[in-house]
């Protein structure tokens, strides 16, 4: 197990390095950040001074070398706009996004798993047709449009929930989160549901496919021949088997929830990472964009590793390479 993890960490470092190279060269092709930083009517000397201050007058490979040596020391550069370390800005915003993504994941599982099992057990029922129709909508309707509709219905017309923002937060067990206040929860419901909709549809489809496959297996027939109740068969024989692929996919999907919460965060003005990076792209705030992209890559690498480890725990047949012989 340890050898397996070590090898994966080494691979991750290589991937991160290659990604940094790609991200850095791509971003140098897009626009001139100095245009955004100074008043267009400034004197040429002034513009040159700003360019020198940010080190943008040097060739790209020098800039990259500076970035790389800084990154190895844990410094991803300062934001052009805020004048503060990019990493610190991200760390500040991360809890809001993590909270949003986690809530969305929990909603997706608690709603999607039972509906998917129901649909898988009754492939021809009316309930199944409604669930599967709904999941097609969930997958095909754009998130931003649904988000706007939700705001119009639940906030503007019905007035039940706040339109945007994160609301009050409270500290509990050393974690600051809006999950611990009523106002915070109210603010969270709409964006979390919006972010979860696509994943609910995905979980339903995965669960249904898994359920149909597992229910046709001989061990389910043998379990029925033992006289087990349907409840016991679902809990002890169906669920552990369908959870293996679902957890694999959801582990990776958790990364996309965090990485692509950008749309939802923009619509609901949720002060998370997504909003930070959208603003940074608009303002050509290179250090933030680079730091964000590297963060997302690192996130996926870690999630992949965690999923592999969980997989080995869930499925006794899987033995990670490098363990034993």
């Amino acid at each position: 197990m340890l050898a397996f993890i070590l090898r994966r960490v080494m691979q991750s470092v290589v991937v991160l390095f290659v990604m940094s190279l790609v991200v850095f060269s791509m971003i140098n092709l897009v626009g001139d950040p100095v245009d955004m930083l100074v008043n267009p009517e400034s004197l040429p000397e002034e513009i040159d001074r700003v360019r020198r201050d940010f080190g943008l007058d040097q060739p790209a490979y020098v800039q990259y070398w500076k970035f790389l040596t800084g990154a190895l020391a844990g410094d991803l550069g300062n934001s052009f706009i805020f004048g503060r370390p990019a990493l610190a800005l991200m760390v500040e915003r991360f809890p809001a996004t993590l909270e949003l993504a986690t809530s969305a994941l929990i909603i997706a599982i608690t709603v999607g798993l039972p509906l998917g099992i129901y649909a898988g057990l009754r492939p021809n029922g009316w309930g199944t047709r409604i669930i599967m129709g709904g999941s097609v909508l969930g997958i095909s309707v754009p998130t931003f449009w649904l988000g706007l509709m939700m705001i119009i219905v639940f906030s503007v017309i019905l007035g039940w929930l706040p339109v945007s923002g994160r609301g009050e937060t409270a500290v509990f067990l050393g974690i600051e989160s809006s999950l611990f206040t009523l106002d915070g929860l109210k603010h969270l419901i709409l964006p979390a549901t919006n972010l979860a909709l696509f994943k609910i549809a995905m979980v339903i489809r995965l669960t249904r496919a898994g359920t149909e496959e597992v229910m046709a297996q001989d061990y389910i027939k043998f379990a029925r021949a033992k006289g087990l109740s349907s409840k016991r068969i679902v809990r002890a024989h169906l669920l552990p088997n369908i959870l293996i692929p679902i957890i694999t996919v959801l582990g990776i999907e958790f990364g996309t929830l965090i990485a692509f919460a950008t749309v939802t965060e923009s619509i609901f003005a949720w002060p998370g990472l997504g909003k930070l990076v959208i603003d940074a792209i608009v303002n050509l705030d290179r250090p933030i964009v680079v730091a964000y992209l590297l963060f997302v890559v690192a996130l996926f690498l870690v999630l992949n590793l965690v999923v592999d480890i969980i997989y080995a725990v869930l499925d006794p047949r899987v033995r990670l390479q490098g363990e034993g012989g």
Partner: protein
Amino acid sequence: MNQLKLLSIQGLRTEFPTPDGPLAAVNGVDLEVTRGDVLGIVGESGSGKTVLGLSIMGLVDRPGRVTAGRIAFGGTEITNYSEAQWQGLRGNRIAMIFQDPTTSLNPVQRIGVQMIEAIQAHRDVSTDAARQIVREAMVRVGINSPDERLEAYPHQFSGGMRQRVVIATALLNEPDLIIADEPTTALDVTVQAQILRDMRRLCRDTGMALIWVSHDLGVVAQIAHRVAVMYAGRIVEQGATEVMLKSPSHPYTAGLMASMPANAPRGQRLVSIPGGLPQLSNLPKGCSFAPRCAHATTACDVLPELSPTSPDHAVRCVSPLQERS
């Protein structure tokens, strides 16, 4: 005499709907099994022998269902049992063993869990007490060091060991009847011989009845007191094993015996029955075997009844072989 009748089936018909109309996989079967009896059911793939076993267990997968006839078990009619009543019967009074031991056990649950649940589904006993019953059942089928085995997963067992686990599971609640659906087909010959010997001993020791479903007349001859030969959903010949094997009356049974490698003279090609099973959707008007039968005449256009030729022997043929010889 009557209380010895454990299982009594009359006119059983199990149909599967298709776009071209219903297919009768089991087509008017009458059977009787007494306590301590070992009945072999022989037939090719598709002859309906497996569906017959599943019908007795109430395990026919929808949309298939029993459409006619009655099944009485221990003097009680069970044909129209509710799912809850079936659950009380299955694995408790009637147990079933399936063909492929490699797929009959859930890969992600420990052996112990899968065996203990079979006891607790029917009896209100503590897990410790159930574990003791499981240990005894494992020893009975020849599994050594049961305590270690209980903690193992199915993939850590060989095929023969897995089938022993399945058999031990079927024995847990001391059923009156075990239906074994080709339990040794997937195993190699030496393991098959061991399991046959063990099953014979178990039947003798416990007095339980056994229905042994197989395509292999040779295997059935080793274990069964009585044999029923199925063809295209019907029983075509039935009788005491020694009587039937000595002088088969139905041309199909005779053909099966002639095609057994052990009965073939050395150095000659193996005999085979010309043709294949008729389509269930397109059965011949009279005897289903007539198109493949060397003795067929116009009299075969009317379906003959299963009629006795001697006290312990019945055949469904207009001109049984015995009379001719």
